[in-house]
């Protein structure tokens, strides 16, 4: 009982600073926020007694003093350039959750909207009503409820029917104020037969604690293809909670690759509903953590209709006294016949104190389906290490190269060369595991 009271107080603390949720001229949005605020206040923050949070103890988050940001910290554009991705056609930059027009750069394309969500809601409020807060359910999850209640700005990407955006769209979320709570929001709507690639990227200019509590909603219409890359490279003192809700229509395809490097405690919830026949998703994840980091990925692939396919590879590379968690739920609903689902959880432990909890969770209610899953936990291969050392590579260089090799499969699936090079650099230069 005592715990409950403390926890509820902590959730209030997340909201401290603003007495009221932001008001919007868009009527339905104000209403949505009010409902979300009500849920945020009604829901208890999770503890390790909740099955979904068994391994992830948020107490350090609840004990950290954090406040919302009303004014973003001033920042030099040059401080951000290192994160820019040359392959991207458009870039939206958010500093402490607020859109920065000066740092952003968008390319005008027919049938394509890449803008701040605030601007988009003012212009296209009626069309967006069907998506915002509809895909990411805030009724059961306090963090999604808080994000929705404080929905102020974020990124909006829409692609009209049959349009293909060939180059990636980069959404860069920069934490600039230590101790800040930021609630970024992303909405991606890709109409029938259209295609695009979105890179969601979380970084920080400082090394202090803070909370990013993001929600992303992605609607993939019939025959549409969406590639969604998610990078979390915040400092190892940060708290990061992200939820991504994806809705895939008939013969639509969602391809998601998430890479987690930062965060003292990070949690990524990926919920994909394959809501049309023949929908397909490929979901890959890589968590590379060390020290005292905890990285938790919970994915939920919901096969609701027949002929759906999903393929998932989740890899964790864990050093120091770090702790990785993976819970991969696959649901095949009654009637979702001829579903073909395959899940792999592969884990590499780099030290004695490194720890991983991995759990496949298959719930199958149709009889004519193919569902495979497997999990492995291993250490660096002694023969491979010796082979590299026998060619002059130091023990550390050999370990880093083999560590990269373990994660390379996921990194290469991002298919963005500059990111692969950067991630390779981060891993090969690592000095501590």
């Amino acid at each position: 009982m005592q715990m409950e009271a403390v926890s509820n107080g902590a959730l209030e603390a997340l909201l401290r600073g603003d007495r009221e949720v932001p008001h919007s001229r868009v009527g339905w949005l104000s209403e949505l926020r009010a409902q979300a605020l009500e849920r945020a206040n009604a829901l208890a923050v999770p503890t390790t007694r909740d099955e979904e949070w068994r391994f992830t103890d948020l107490t350090p988050l609840y004990k950290t003093r954090l406040q919302p940001v009303l004014q973003p910290a001033p920042a030099e554009p040059s401080a951000f350039e290192a994160w820019f991705i040359p392959e991207a056609s458009s870039r939206l930059v958010f500093v402490d959750g607020l859109y920065s027009a000066t740092l952003s750069s968008t390319m005008a394309e027919d049938g394509v909207i890449v803008s701040s969500l605030a601007a988009g809601l003012t212009k296209h409020g009626d069309e967006l009503r069907a998506y915002v807060g509809r895909l990411a359910d805030f009724r059961a999850d306090p963090f999604t409820a808080v994000n929705t209640a404080w929905l102020r700005d974020g990124a909006l990407v829409t692609v009209a029917r049959e349009r293909a955006v060939n180059r990636p769209i980069h959404l860069l979320f920069v934490s600039a104020s230590p101790g800040a709570v930021v609630n970024p929001r992303v909405l991606v709507s890709v109409e029938a037969g259209a295609q695009c690639t979105v890179i969601e990227d979380y970084v920080s200019v400082h090394a202090e604690a803070g909370l990013t509590n993001g929600v992303t909603e992605i609607a993939v219409a019939a025959q549409a293809h969406v590639k969604h890359l998610r990078l979390q490279r915040e400092p190892t003192s940060a708290f990061h909670i992200g939820t991504c809700a994806v809705h895939v229509g008939r013969n639509g395809r969602y391809k998601g690759v998430s890479v987690t490097l930062g965060g003292r405690i990070s949690r990524y919830n990926l919920n994909v509903i394959q809501a049309g026949e023949g929908a397909e998703c490929e979901v890959d994840g890589l968590a590379l953590i060390s020290g005292r980091q905890l990285a938790d990925t919970h994915s939920f692939l919901d096969h609701a209709l027949p002929h759906g396919r999903s393929r998932q590879t989740h890899k964790c590379i864990v050093g120091g006294a770090a702790h990785a968690v993976f819970n991969g739920k696959i649901l095949v609903r009654p009637g979702a016949q001829l579903t073909d689902a395959a899940q792999q959880s592969r884990n590499l432990l780099l030290s004695e104190r490194a720890h991983v909890d991995t759990k496949p969770q298959l719930e199958i209610f149709a009889d004519d389906v193919k569902c495979a899953h497997g999990a492995t936990v291993g250490q660096l291969d002694a023969d491979q290490t010796f082979y590299l050392r026998s060619r002059g590579l130091s023990a550390a260089a050999a370990r880093n190269l083999l560590t990269y090799a373990f994660g390379a499969e996921v990194i290469e699936r991002m298919e963005v060369a500059s990111l692969a090079v950067r991630l390779q650099d981060v891993i090969l230069r690592a000095t501590q595991h």
Partner: protein
Amino acid sequence: MSHVILKVQGLAATVAGIEILKGIDLTVRSGDVHALMGPNGSGKSTLAKVLAGHPAYTVTRGQALFEGQDLFALQPEERARAGLFLGFQYPVEVPGVTNSTFLRMAYNTMQGARGREELDPLEFDDFVQAKLELLGMDPTLLERSVNDGFSGGEKKRNEVLQLALLEPRLAILDELDSGLDIDALRIVAHGVNRLRGADRAIVLVTHYQRLLNDIVPDYVHVMDDGRIIKTGGKELALELESRGYDWVSEEFRARQAA
């Protein structure tokens, strides 16, 4: 003027508590090619791995001087940088590491150790292409993961490619001939022969005389039960080919008994 590159004295070593090497004496001088022959399980490959510093083996007695340094005081990578190269009997597959990246890292590490200039990826590409042609290697092997899915012959060529890139003082080539057909063997042997020189030595570990037709040794040693029991010239290999190993063991036992 040749000099002693490697001097092994009274070397004994164990793996998982079992003694495999029981007192090895071997001196290798620059310019020499030695062949180490013997039946399966005689300790040939173990000797090669112990000299290269494989962590599964424990040296229990004896010493080895490599270019005047105490070899067993050096880490495997320090031995490599000092100029010792082990060509693996079973080259290790390293999925996820591109062969060209691996080769470049190894090459640059060695260049750094010798106080020479390192090459960037583009420069290295040109440099390695020329070596590939000498070995008749398919250039696409550079873009694949190290030894991953390579045929037996491709793996061995990749070892010789590393040998050619790293230019060691002493190359210990463990069963270079296994997994190679006659044509591949000729090409690989040709590659090794090009590296013979007055300032470097080669130790070939092999079962068969066949390889020694193409890489003609100066000395042939026969190993049995963890010891070198006979040393001779290149003609000893021919004799072993026709008579087998048993007579050498019997001769050795008779000598021991006397």
